[in-house]
Structure formats: structure tokens, C-alpha cells
Symmetry: C2
Subunit: 191 residues, 2 copies
DNA sequence: GGATTAAAGCAATAAAAATTGCAATAGCGA
DNA sequence: TCGCTATTGCAATTTTTATTGCTTTAATCC
């Protein structure tokens, strides 16, 4: 019989949070268009609704926190020896990660709840900050190799943005070579 | 003294709808991050809350309908004699239209509530169908003039998507030449 | 091992959202 | 102009959401 995992640091508080976040993810996967109620989340997580109100106050705040944390967790940054390979691998991971009901629903929620930064002073504080950090690491590596590295904003505009548009407004990314073409284009030096 | 506009066809039903949609827009402009309650909408519109529940059933359905109808209303399709001029004018209109609190909030709501088409069979049925129809008209005109016209999907990916990404995740479009650079790039034939 | 504290649970209560049955009204069409 | 119908309004009621005061519990620290 499998021994239960030892409690993670933070004790019950952390266990409750994990149970709640798991519950939110499952409920969103079950009904991607809807926002679950606090009651439903509490039942699914096996906790008391009062705990949810005390800790998060509002279901939209909770759901937003789940969406950001569970969706934008670190993706591996490939190290293929070329920026083309690295970027293709990374973008394929992003696209694949979003190409299911749960994660596309989480992206939708993250988009809906994003508090747009007023100053864009710290790009890493944006909801897509993790993606940005991954790209920065990738671009720094490319420059180290002496490769042409496009501007970070260009990759956001011409790789990440089209992926998001397809997922949010066209349901899925069905074109197998879509990511490859995006990468080819952004790595073409501007005329 | 200005005479009031004659009532539009559809009578009270249409007047109630207009009042309700106006109310939703104003409440969203006042608090771009929030979804107004049915009670608040009813008060602002001067109608009975029961009418809202009877007609729309759920505040999210109502707000989604307002977001789609008020945001994605027809934008003028410029006719400058060249695709470059037409596309630049069109994209500038899209960007300018979204560069205020109300419309960016409406875009966020539209994104959150978009029911992604499963088959993408009819692009025009998508929430961004109006933008697509505008682009189709523009591209048809360019082909008539014998100009190189990129694929419609490329314009969505490399012009509309970056605009949406900036608005949704970076707060606003502050780069004055942003749209110009997007158009230049998409009109460069792929290598 | 025990004290302390923060987090969670419980049950009652308050507030808000949503529904229902019936009445009133707008406005279309004959 | 009048009849008819769909829509809207009203008030009461139900349901759901959210809050509150107090108790219990987990777990940290000494």
C-alpha cells in the first residue's frame, strides 16, 4: 500500500490551498465556460466554504489566482544549440500546453482577470511574466552564441500573440506547421 | 431645441434593450475590472430587474452580448488606393478603438465569454467575425487592383493578434508606430 | 510536551440574487 | 380605434451567496 506523501511545508494551510486549487481546476475542466461557485469548490476540495471566503474573499479572485498559477507555471526552456530550435521547441510547448479544454479555459480566465499594467515597467510582473522570463533566457543564450536575436517584444507580438488568438477566438490550433511558420517569420530579419 | 429622435422600430422592447446595453457599457466604463450586478444594471437603465432575468437570464450572458455587439460594431474600411494604406488605416482604427478603458474592458469580456468555434467552418460567426469581414473586403479590393494580398489568417496573426495582446496583457498601445510596423511586416512577402 | 497562534470548521444569520404569479402597459395590426 | 399579445412592472417569496461569532484543530516554537 502506497504511503501517503509527507505533508509539504506550510502544513494544513498549504494542503487546503492545494486541494482548493485542484478543485477549481477540475471544475473548470468539467465546465470550461463557467466560473464555479464557492460552494461547489468547497465541496470538491473537502473544505468549508467559510475558509474560502476568509482566505480569498471572492470567487473571481480565487479563480484568477488559480488560472495564473496553474497555467503560467514554468515551461522548460529548450537548449538545442540554435535560437531557431530553442524558439520552435518553446513555442510548441506553449501551443501544446494550451491545446486542451482546461488550459484554454484557464487562459481565458487569466485574460479576463488580468489587471493590465499601467506602466509596463516590469514586464515580469505581467500575467505572462513567466513566458517573458523564459524568452529572455533564450534570447540571452542566443546572443551569447553570436546569433541574431530579435527583440523580445517581436516574439511576443508574432509568436505568442497569434497562439493566444487562435486559442481564444478559434478554438484550437489545428495547423501542425503553424508554430514553425511563426518562428520562421519572426527570425527573418526585418527588411 | 433639438427634437428627440423618433423611436426606433421595435418599440418599448427595443428601447429597453438600448437602455440596458447603455447601462452595461457605462457601468463597465466606471469599473473596468468588474462585472456589474443585475440590480445595478436595472437601476441604471431604469427598468425592472425581473425584465433582465426574463430576457437574458444571467448577467454573464447579458454582458457578453453587450460586449460583442458594442465592441465589434462595424469599423469603416478605408479606401486609400493601396492595401498598405487601407490596412494601416483599418488597424489604426482597431487600435484606437481599443485604447480606452471601456473598450479594453469590453474586449476582455468578449475574450472571456467567447465560445470558441469547434470547426472554424464559418469564420464570420466568430466574435471577431466583423473584423474578418472587414479584412475580406479589403483584401478583395487589393486583389482587384492586382496587388499582392497576404492570407487573411496572416493578418489576423500578425496584425490583430499583437494589438489584442498589447491591450489585454500590457494595458495599452503606447508605441505610436506600432501599427505601422505590424502592417509593414505582414505585407513583406515571406522569404 | 505544552503553550500559543493562525487557520479552518460549524451553525446561525444577513444580504443579495433569482424566481414566481399576477397585473399593467406598449404597440402592432386589422 | 380597438383587440390582442408580448413585454414589462410589482411585490412576495425562494434560493443562493456571504458574513459572523465562537469553537476546534494543526503545527510551530520554546
Amino acid at each position: 500500500m502506497k504511503k501517503p506523501a509527507p505533508p509539504r511545508p506550510g502544513g494544513r494551510s498549504e494542503r487546503v490551498k492545494t486541494a482548493v486549487f485542484d478543485a477549481v481546476e477540475h471544475l473548470i475542466a468539467d465546465d470550461p465556460g463557467g466560473i464555479p461557485s464557492m460552494a461547489a469548490i468547497a465541496v470538491r476540495a473537502g473544505v468549508n466554504p467559510t475558509s474560502l471566503y476568509r482566505r480569498w474573499g471572492d470567487v473571481n479572485i480565487l479563480v484568477a489566482e488559480v488560472a495564473t498559477e496553474r497555467l503560467v507555471r514554468d515551461l522548460p526552456v529548450p537548449d538545442t544549440g540554435s535560437l531557431h530550435g530553442d524558439l520552435t521547441g518553446w513555442a510548441s510547448n506553449v501551443a501544446r500546453n494550451l491545446n486542451n479544454r482546461k488550459n484554454s479555459a484557464l487562459l481565458r480566465i487569466m485574460t479576463a482577470t488580468a489587471r493590465a499594467s499601467r506602466t509596463a515597467r516590469d514586464l515580469n510582473s505581467l500575467p505572462i511574466g513567466r513566458r517573458i522570463a523564459e524568452l529572455e533566457a533564450m534570447l540571452a543564450r542566443a546572443r551569447k552564441r553570436g546569433e541574431y536575436a530579435p527583440d523580445l517584444m517581436d516574439i511576443l507580438d508574432f509568436v505568442l500573440a497569434p497562439i493566444y488568438l487562435r486559442v481564444l477566438f478559434m478554438g484550437a490550433i489545428r495547423d501542425a506547421d503553424f508554430v514553425g511558420r511563426l518562428v520562421d517569420r519572426v527570425l527573418s530579419p526585418p527588411l
